[in-house]
Every structure is written in C-alpha cells, then in structure tokens.
C-alpha cells in the first residue's frame, strides 16, 4: 500500500508541477526527434549529395526570401537547419548518454568500494577524485585528445573522435558519482541490514551490489539526470572550441560554432536556432532532475 502510494506520490507531484510536465514534453519530443532523425529529417546533412549550395543561407519561413521547403532556413552549405539540428542532437545525446554510462559505472563502482572498504583504499580513490576535480574538463579532453593523437595512426584518429570525446567527458563526470555513492554507502554501512549481511559471511561484491546499491539508487538517479545535462553541455563546449567533433559530422556544439561566423552578417538563424534548441534541451533535463530530487528527498519539499 505504501509502495503504491509512494509511486502514486511521485505521479501526483508530477501532475501538479507544470514545470515538470513542460520539461518532460520538451525533453521527450527532442529525444524522439533525435532517435528518429534519419526518418524525420528531409536531408542527411552528412551526405553531400543530398543538399545543394544553391539553397544556401535561406532564412526561416517567416522572413522574406524564404523557401517553404526549409522551415527554419538553411546554412551556407544549403543544409536544412531542422535536419542538421536533429542529427546534431542525435550525436550530442549519443555522446552524452555514453559518457554518462561510463561515468556512472566507474564512479558508482569506485564510490561503493571506497565506502565499503574505507581506510587506505578510500583515501586513494578520493584523492584521485580530488585531482580529477582540479582539472577542468577541457584540459582532460585536450590531454586525452593529445594522447590519442600520439598513439593512434592518423587514419584512425578521425574515426575515434567520438570515442575520445566521450571518454574525456566521462572522466570529468565520474567524480560526482563516486562522491555521492561513497557518502551514501557510509550511511548504509552503519545500518544493521548491512552488518547482518557481512556477519553471514556474504561476498563483499554481493553486499555492495545486492544489498547496498538498491538503497542508494535514489540520489544517484538524480545525479544522473543533472549530469546528462552537464555531459551534453560539455560536449557542446568542447565542440564549440574545436576540440570536439569536426564540421562534417556536426553535433549541436559544432553547429553553434559554425553559426558564430554568421552572427554579424545578418544570418542570425544559423547561430540562434541550434543555440535555443540546446538551451531548451539542457534546461528541460535540469528541471526534470530537480523534480526527481524533490521526489526522492521529501525533506526538501
């Protein structure tokens, strides 16, 4: 009954929170658009033959000189903005989710173990985390990029750009997970059900993953949503600065970088439309994260 009410409670809070509903609608729409981009988009921005330079720099439909075929206009190459954004969001989300998964697995694993074993292991892991926090994500990305360039043959570098970027983002996000998992594990370690499991002689891995992990999932889920937004933003930042993805496979960040060149020449839509799209995505994910935190933490309500 209480379990049902709890679930019901989350739903009730959701229905009564307009911000959460709007955010959820926006996020879901964007995600559907991104997932089905190849079917929705009228042009494939990666396929040079599918667009033509003659359609370049067309404004959105509500401005003079627009072509109704391109609702939000085109860029200098003649690529349809909607298609570029959908494909860009697809890439951004793929990188964001992959980085998030790596960060969560690494961070939660290390944090759980640090909280469980304590002592020296805990100290070492947490000092590494401190060092990681002191390095800005851009520096980490540059470092990994540099190492990849040094080790990998030139032919592979281009193919591995996505992997390098993902790894860089994951490395700058795992600390959050590790710290939260460790702190929550410390709390759970004092609970008697954990002591009972240890007393029985259960394997440490079983105690950690079967007993403790389900009990610390709440705060971790909140971090996951908030960090998904961070990951997408990080990717955009790195791509904007040119460390991330190249112009021929544009993510949202790359689109914004390209758009910058047209800011002062009157073709505002090339910059503003992808930017607003990115803002909408990140803000809605953040609102959902805040909402989740409220659901999991009744004291903040």
């Amino acid at each position: 009954m209480v379990a049902f009410l709890k679930r019901y409670e989350g739903l009730w809070l959701f229905v009564h929170s307009p911000a959460a509903i709007i955010a959820a609608i926006v996020a879901v729409l964007i995600m559907i658009g991104a997932v089905f981009a190849p079917w929705i988009a009228q042009v494939n921005p990666y396929d040079l033959s599918s667009f033509s330079l003659f359609d370049g720099l067309l404004p959105p439909v509500w401005q003079e000189g627009a072509n109704p075929q391109y609702l939000l206009g085109t860029d200098d190459q003649g690529r349809d903005m909607i298609s570029s954004i959908l494909y860009g969001a697809r890439l951004s989300l793929i990188i964001g989710l992959a980085a998030l998964t790596i960060a969560a697995v690494l961070g939660v694993g290390l944090g759980l173990a640090a909280g469980y074993y304590g002592g020296r292991f805990d100290a070492i892991v947490m000092r590494i985390a401190d060092v990681q926090l002191a390095l800005p994500a851009i520096l980490t990305a540059l470092l990994i990029d540099g190492i990849a360039r040094g080790i990998l043959p030139a032919s592979m570098q281009q193919d591995l750009r996505v992997a390098v970027l993902t790894l860089a983002i994951a490395l700058s996000l795992w600390v959050n997970f590790a710290r939260t998992a460790r702190a929550s594990t410390f709390v759970q370690m004092n609970k008697e059900y954990v002591q009972a499991a240890i007393m029985m002689g259960q394997r440490p891995s079983r105690v950690m993953f079967v007993h403790i992990l389900p009990n610390i999932l709440g705060p971790l889920l909140v971090i996951m949503t908030v960090d998904l937004a961070s990951a997408i933003l990080l990717e955009a930042t790195l791509s904007f600065l040119g460390i991330g993805l190249p112009a021929d496979s544009p993510s949202l960040g790359t689109l914004i970088r390209i758009g910058m060149q047209f800011l002062l020449s009157g073709e505002w839509w090339i910059l503003w439309i992808p930017t607003l799209f990115l803002v909408a995505l990140v803000v809605s994910i953040n609102i959902l994260g805040d909402f989740l935190r409220d659901v999991f933490n009744p004291r903040l309500r």
């Binding site: 009954m1 209480v2 379990a3 009730w12 609970k191 008697e192 059900y193 002591q195 009972a196 240890i198 007393m199 029985m200 002689g201 259960q202 394997r203 007993h211 389900p214 009990n215």
Partner: protein, 563 residues
Amino acid sequence: MLVIKDLAVKFPSRFGEFTAIEDVDMTIKPGEIHGLVGESGAGKSTVGAAVIGLLSAPGYIANGELSLGDTNLRNLTPDQAHEIRGDRISMIFQDPQTSLNPLMTIEDQLIETIQAHSNVSDSAARKRAVDLLEEIGIKNAAERIKAYPHQFSGGMRQRVVIALAICTDPELIIADEPTTALDVAVQSQVLDLIRRLARDRQIAFMLITHDIGVIAQIADRVTVMRKGKVMETGDTPQVLGAPTHPYTQALMDAVPPLDHRIARFRVPEEEGTAGVVTGNTAEKWLLEGQQYALTGLTLQDLCVRFAGPRTSLFRKPEPYVALRDVNLDVRPGSIMGLVGESGSGKSTLAKAITGLITPSSGVMRLGDEILPAGKARSRHHPSRQLVQMVFQDPYSSLNSRHRIGAILTEPLWFYGFVQDAKERERLAAAMLELVGMAPDAIDKYPHQFSGGQRQRIAVARALLARPRFLICDEPTSALDVSIQAEILNLLKDLQSMFGLTILFISHNLAVVRQMADDTAVLRNGVIEEMGATEDLFARPKADYTQTLLSLTPVMPREWQSAG
C-alpha cells in the same frame, strides 16, 4: 490551571482529513504533574503541541476548548500566542542534544530567553540565570554558565533545558519524553527535579511519556491515550493500580516487573498473532537441523581497544578501551542477560562475538572450538551460521528494497540448506507462521509492517540460519511495551522449543529479569557483577548494581497484576 475540553485536532491531506486526536478532556491544576501515557501514534505529543500552539503545518484544532487560567488559548492572534509561549507555557523536549543551540553559551541562551519576556538589564538577567542554574542543581553555576552545551553531560544539558523552561516563571510546562534519552541514574535526578519544581513553584506539568514506570514514580494524575482517544483518566494510584479500561489493563500486564519473574506476559490476542505456535513445517525443519548439541560461549580476558582521537601529528593516538578483560560464560541452552547503560560496551561485545570488530586480546570459544577474531574469521567459518543476531532497530535491520521473501530465503540459499527455490519460499512462509505472522507476508516489503512485525521477521531470518547461539541486542528497546511483551514471549517460546543459547543485551533491568537465567552487569567496559539472575536481583553485591536497581523507576507492588 489548564483546561482541555473535547479537543480534536485534524490533519487535512489529499486523501481526506486525518483525525489525530478527538474528545480529549484534561484538567491540570497548578503544581500537578499530569502524566500523559500511550504507545507510539497515540496522539500524546499532538495534545502538547495543540496546547502550546505549535501544531505542525497542515494540522489545526477542529473542535474543543483550550484555556489556561482565564485565557482562551484558541482565540489568540499569532502575536498573543507568541507572547504566551515561553512566558506562561514552556516546553521541555526529548533530546537535550538538539534543543540547545550549540553555538551559544548557556549564559547567552538563558539571558536571551529572560530578556525576551521581561524588561530587565543584562546584569539582572545574568544574576537570575545563575540563581536558576543553582536552583536546578548545577554546582559552580557562576563559572559553568560561560560554558557551551557540548561541555555539559547529557543529564546536565537536560537540566539546562529545564532552566530555560522555568526562567520566565511559566504556569505550565509541557515535558515531551524528557528522560527517554537519558540513562536511569540521570533520569531519576531529572525526575526529582521536576517533582521539586512542581511542588516549590506550583508549576503544572504535562508529562508526556511512554514509560509507565516514570509515570508511576512522579505523576499525580494520569491520562491513558490510544489512537487519539482518552482511554482512562484519574489519580495515578487508581488508574495504574486498579485499571478499569481493558486497554489500561493490557498495558499494565505488558509492563515487565523488576522485582519478580513472570513465566509469560499476558497478551491480548489480536492482529492475527496467535499465541499458539503453528508453523509445523518450519518447526520440524529446525529440529532436524540440530546436528550440534547445545552450544555455549566463553569469553576469556576479552579486550577491545579503539584508536582514540589523535592529539598530535607525531604521536600515536591514545587507545580508547571499550572492553577490558571481559570474562563471560554463557551456559549451553541458557539465556545470559547483559545489562549496562549506554556506552558501557554492550554492543561492542556483540560485535566482537560476531566478528564485526577485532578484539585486541582475549579468547572466544563457541562450544569447544576457538572462535577466530574479526578479520581472521573466514567467510565460510561455521560460526557464521551457528551464531545469529537480532538487532535493535527493526527499521534498519531489514533491507528496505528487498521483499520479505528475499530476505528470509537468503540464509537458506546462502548456507546451502535448501537447493530448490520454491521449497525455500515455502519454508520461509512456514517460518513466518512460526513467529506469528501471516505467511502471505513474503510478497511484501519491510515498510509495509509495523516495528513489532518487523522484529518478528528479523527473528525469523535469524532462525532460518539454523543457529545454535542467538545474540539479541536490545531487541525490544525500539518497540512499544505491549509489542515488547509479545516479542519477549516469542523469544522465550523459541528458546525453550529449540534449545537455543541466547545472549540477551538490554539496558532495561526489568526486561532482563524476565528473560535471563544468568545476568552480567557491564559498566565502562568492565563486568561489575555476574551471577544467576534471581540472586543478582535479590541480593546485588556490587555497588553499581545496587544503584542501578534502586534508581530504576518501579511500580508499587500492590499495583502490579499477578502475572
């Protein structure tokens, strides 16, 4: 004089209105200590909160009269209510750790309160504060007043809280479980202080507590509440000595007496907890598992030291001795009671036996075999199965994310007793029946059960490991007294049925007297006295035991039911 008539408090929620208390009548005269007793959820604290005007958010007074002297407490503006709080009505909270501001000296807190209610100079307020502290029995008050709350012990801190409550000469003080967080010795001092204040200053006290012993000791009149309603009210000797309401009678039956032993508690048969044990399958299974004979436990010169606080970067921290040369002999098939106040090392002892902490020296023997200590005990050591534990807090001893079925079948699977998953579930259900629960509980989650039911589940889990030696660490101190009686009955039944050896740890002397064959008294990590329970309670030898026994609040013998 406080008069409460037909008081009802309701809490609106989106599932409709919840009535917390209704039809509560009560009169407290000046100088009277009025006990308000009941189990958790009875609405005792709500009565107090309604009187002082501090009902938590959506709650409101739906009906009734509430007046102090000739002031109607229901018609006050927020400002007037604020004036009265502290000035005419004060409150003493349960936990002195949190009811004082840790960043302010006692002096500042007292002066602040005094000046908030009367227009006096700093020096006059300081003088009054010092006088007050002396009155409530803090020696050297002029110096001690400069101290911060953490520099006082728990009992002293509660005195300071009382000083804060009386510094404005209130007519009424609401004391919400004022001694629950304190050890018996300190508790009796605080109760004496309350009685003295009521007599000398003619302050009316509303004493909210779940401890009937405390009520018996100091309350003039008592009101018994249950589920938001008054069951019985009257003079203490009459209500406790000759209860007329069946609920009060049941409550009195459940209180463990300190001065004699009763075979079983009389428990009203309710909530499907049949008195007769029916879990036949489980019983047979447990009995056939007795390949080991009765198993005792001996501890020889057991010492546990913890690293103390580090005082210098270059010196080793001074060790803190939690247990010193503890010798304990738990006879096979008997119940050994271990009594001690908080911080005496009771739980440390349990953890050393179960291998959660490593003793620094000493030998532990389970039966004839030496029990490896702490980390030296492998995960597959037989003692991991033979020694099981029932923990204090049933809210944290069951994993709240696991089904009861998963919790109960874990030992069966882990120790390899039963290979078939269906058979494990069947046995777990039978075990639930054995401990007096409905077998369909296996599909539910821990939070769907009350504290007493959870403790039954915890006992079932321990039994499913087929233990020979059971450690019960304060198994009933988180429970209401009637639930405590049920759990104690259950433990007695199971012990005699399966010949378990039990180490029963408790701070409650009366409970130990009911349960234990032998008793050991622990103080600051040292065993003060050990012997057969009857002897030890009738003729305590150590001074400490005598003090403990004399300070524990008891009911006069003639009030106790025959048992």
